[in-house]
């Protein structure tokens, strides 16, 4: 029973990782940029979600505003930050992104204050008991959202013309451009979708913890980098599996090996070992 509960808790944690990391890996797959500021959009969305919900009393409105705004800000970041430095050495974009993330974190603190925000009455906290396991609605919704969003994403990528064009651009931008797929539009799309995913994750985490702080993006900012490497950079399916696996490993690790390594170290020990054995990650990189 405990094992099942730990496993479920791991999946919940892993689902939040997955939603953030998938957006990041989409961006990496297309542009080879380690987009640390992605975690800044995650925080932005959490703030917007809470503020709008508290103001207008509607969580759905909060989610919509958060998702759209973060998506647009993501596109703007691409246009103003990454596009001009795409052909520079990879560390340039990485450090620019880190700088941007630090600045965003500070802006959030200056605008929203250092104490963090909470929902004035947190939605989706009602407890559901399934086979003796107590779960909050927001926990169940996190897992469902993960499945649904990634399902929709997979459907778009596999079944729609837009998705096929997008994957073609990842494969061979020059050829796909010659068939009329505008690579710039694909980049905008990927940044919008990736950032919107981060936004959903931000609101979900806000619901799970009822606390939105300026520094809440710190853990996702580096842990999702580890995840996308484990999942094979650019590989969406691998990223999903790596996220869930890491969530579960952390859940068990916290209880059974917490004395040796803390949660972050568990993730990175796992990463270093995997990369030493298989330098390209668990799954094939694209």
């Amino acid at each position: 029973m405990l094992f099942i509960e730990l496993f479920i808790q791991g999946l919940i944690q892993g689902s939040t990782y997955a939603i953030i990391a998938v957006g990041l890996t989409l961006i990496y797959g297309l542009l080879r940029v380690l987009h640390v500021a992605h975690a800044g959009l995650f925080t932005l969305a959490a703030y917007l979600g809470v503020t709008v919900t508290n103001q207008f009393g509607s969580l759905s409105l909060g989610i919509v505003v958060a998702t759209l705004t973060s998506g647009i800000v993501g596109v703007v970041i691409y246009r103003l930050v990454y596009e001009p430095i795409l052909n520079k050495p990879p560390y340039v974009a990485l450090i620019a992104s880190i700088g941007l993330y630090i600045a965003m974190e500070e802006l959030f603190r200056l605008i929203f204050g250092p104490f963090g925000l909470s929902f004035s009455s947190a939605p989706l906290q009602n407890v559901v008991v399934i086979f003796g396991i107590h779960l909050r609605a927001c926990q169940i919704i996190t897992v469902i959202t993960n499945v649904v969003l990634l399902g929709i994403l997979a459907w778009i990528a596999q079944k729609t013309r837009v998705g096929i064009g997008w994957r073609a651009t990842v494969d061979d931008p020059e050829m796909s451009a010659s068939f009329g797929i505008d690579p710039i539009r694909v980049r905008y799309l990927v940044f919008f979708v990736g950032s919107a995913l981060a936004a959903v994750a931000g609101v979900l985490v806000a619901l799970l913890t009822n606390l939105v702080e300026p520094t809440m993006g710190a853990v996702p900012s580096y842990k999702s980098l580890a995840i996308i490497v484990l999942g094979g950079l650019g590989n969406v399916f691998g990223t999903l599996i790596a996220s869930l696996a890491l969530g579960v490993i952390e859940a068990f690790g916290t209880i059974y090996i917490g004395d040796f390594l803390d949660r972050d170290a568990i993730a990175f020990a796992f990463l270093v070992v995997v990369l030493m054995i298989k330098p390209t990650g668990l799954f094939k990189s694209r």
């Binding site: 994957r167 494969d171 050829m175 010659s178």
Partner: protein
């Protein structure tokens, strides 16, 4: 006249690969482009498709100057390319490759075109869900041609049709070229196999180091030893 190329130079960066070329391609004809490796054959058709920088001269297509058009605009006007090495989207299925080929056409046209492609290459219809990367060499070449046909092009340019293929697959591909030609499609072939090229084309042009060394009808070409010598590097000896 389908294509009229005059005083044409192209290249990469500050390297010029094709020098002062003049070429006219008649509607419904097959033009073979011959020459040793590195002579500039591929660069020529890549430049016509818009992938290589044009340094000088002009390309007039169907009476319209397309020298400064983007690759996509050329595709939409009916110039299709089967690039060297095929450059399929290998992690994607046959179906998806074809969809991309017809990306700029309307969805309905895309459907009819795809059916046409399956008529020409039934094997692709059978492998519709398979990944392009897992096809055999011959099938990949068919898919590359099929993908180019998805826009219903008027001019089809094929780079190194027979490269790396089994003889039987080459035969099939050439049959398709003939068939397409019989449907009034204009075709340009870059081909290493001189014999094949001479059989399949109406006219040939022969390159050496970016310069045109011979131009004329295939029938004349078959009699000329110059072409063979040029291909074998024996011309100056």
């Amino acid at each position: 006249m389908m294509l009229k190329i005059s005083n044409f130079c192209c290249g990469y960066g500050n390297m010029q690969v094709v020098n002062h070329l003049d070429l006219e391609v008649k509607k419904g004809s097959v033009t073979g482009i011959l020459g040793a490796n590195g002579a500039g054959k591929s660069s020529l058709i890549m430049a016509i498709a818009g992938h290589v920088e044009i340094k000088n001269g002009s390309i007039v297509y169907n009476g319209e100057d397309i020298t400064s058009c983007t690759p996509m605009e050329r595709v939409s006007r009916g110039i299709a390319l089967v690039p060297e090495g095929r450059r399929l989207f290998k992690s994607m299925s046959v179906y998806e490759n074809l969809i991309i080929g017809g990306y700029i056409t309307r969805k309905k046209d895309s459907q009819t075109n795809m059916e046409k492609v399956f008529d020409i290459f039934p094997i692709l219809g059978e492998r519709i869900r398979q990944n392009a990367g897992s096809l055999s060499g011959g099938e990949q070449q068919m898919l590359a041609i099929g993908r180019a046909l998805m826009t219903d092009p008027k001019v089809l340019m094929v780079d190194e049709l027979s490269l790396g293929l089994m003889p039987k697959a080459i035969d099939i591909c050439y049959e398709v070229i003939e068939k397409l030609n019989s449907l009034d499609m204009t075709i340009m072939l870059v081909e290493q196999s001189t014999k094949r090229a001479l059989q399949a084309s109406d006219n040939v042009i022969v390159f050496e180091s970016g310069n045109t060394v011979w131009k004329g009808s295939s029938n004349e070409a078959k009699k000329s030893s110059e072409i063979i010598d040029s291909m074998l590097g024996l011309r100056n000896h």
